[in-house]
Symmetry: D2
Subunit: 138 residues, 4 copies
């Protein structure tokens, strides 16, 4: 397999067991070594008391893109620390698109930038830190 | 109203519109000025490809406790920045309990500690920063 | 030794080698198991182009209090992740006082809240995550 | 002035008043709209009780690169929230090089990635959030 094929095979294997991402209506737009793009429409039941998407959903789509990116080289890895800054609200009907890119991979620790967009706007910036846990994805 | 009654009235008003927290099966255990406790059972559809609760759900219950705490004085406030460290996994069937406590409130900015527990274990530590946005909750 | 005596002995041993904290003019106000308080006057050479203390110095005093707190049980530990929110500026002549308190200690990972005060104001809130690295402090 | 000349003029004006960065031995390597590179040798007095550079110094050089980047368009801006993950230690004699790049600028809020290198290694990853405060740098 090429590195791109390996990244896609890892994402497919994770996706098969990822009840949460599927129940939330996410789809994988693209995956490559150290990178992943995931999209999710904002449903009416994702809206909070301020009339905007609950922060947990912008977080969830960013977290999923991060998970596919940090497992894309067939080294089983988990989120250790995540950090999100909310820049603009998203509303029901918007599609959230999270683009994750690896910034560094040192020993067992990786750091990943994730930008979450809705329309042309940046909704949130996310920084994820992963740790490999032993074993492979496939 | 006493400060405690005001905190409960604010939480009730937010809860009525909070489709997301209700759809996720959360319940408000307690709320007081600057404090809130929210619980949520981990359902089978909340489990990710590693067999543990998707990080987005531990985040969501922490984020909801944070929201009720930072709006508990009837000053409308939103999350601006959140930070989560995962310390131990949670599994389907666990009940996640998030306890939010105000650490500081300076001008328009508040900071809130949230600990997420499952059984006797600490599952995650969360730090939320809020900003008041003008207006009241009630 | 009692736990308090052990915490003080660990802090003394670290302090003897801590050229950085001494060169910055810090002093240890108090240390106990999982807790430490460190103070540092803001010198004129710590002021940045906005006329306020460079953020790196508020960070440094918080980071030192965090280091003494997470090494207070004689388990050698290092900072892994830190997060700071600036709430108010500090000026030359202020004394920064950082109070670190342990929030959780799970396996090799600890989390510590640090509040930085100047006068009666909260200047910054800091959240530190530590990892034990094997070995003891003494 | 071109945008690049404006970025350099803003950095020069800030530098003239930035006693802290100069006292720490920093130098500006490069500045451009939304970007800045700052270098700082690790001096013997910057070493902590573990024999490695005190985390506050890696933070300080990242924070300075962030400050020059977020003020590079002549809109006066301050750090609001910073987040650092330590990936590898630095020792006395190393030169720390911090490269700041703007990731988003939405309304009054900007987010900036800063990577800190020493030799060929990534020492730390930093994410800074800025807020404009009214007024200009020049």
């Amino acid at each position: 397999m090429t590195p791109d094929e390996l990244a896609k095979a890892c994402a497919d294997a994770m996706w098969a067991d990822d009840h949460a991402s599927r129940a939330l209506g996410m789809r994988i737009v693209d995956v490559a070594p150290g990178r992943a793009t995931v999209a999710m429409p904002v449903r009416p039941d994702m809206v909070n008391g301020h009339g905007t998407a609950h922060g947990g959903f912008a977080f969830a789509v960013a977290d999923s893109a991060f998970a596919f990116a940090c497992n894309s080289r067939n080294v089983a890895s988990v989120a250790y620390h995540c950090d999100i800054t909310y820049l603009a609200p998203a509303a029901a009907g918007d599609e959230l698109v999270a683009v994750a890119e690896e910034r560094s991979l040192v020993g067992r620790t990786g750091t990943y930038d994730v930008s979450v967009h809705a329309g042309g706007r940046v909704v949130a910036e996310f920084l994820g830190t992963s740790r490999s846990v032993g074993g492979t994805v496939l």
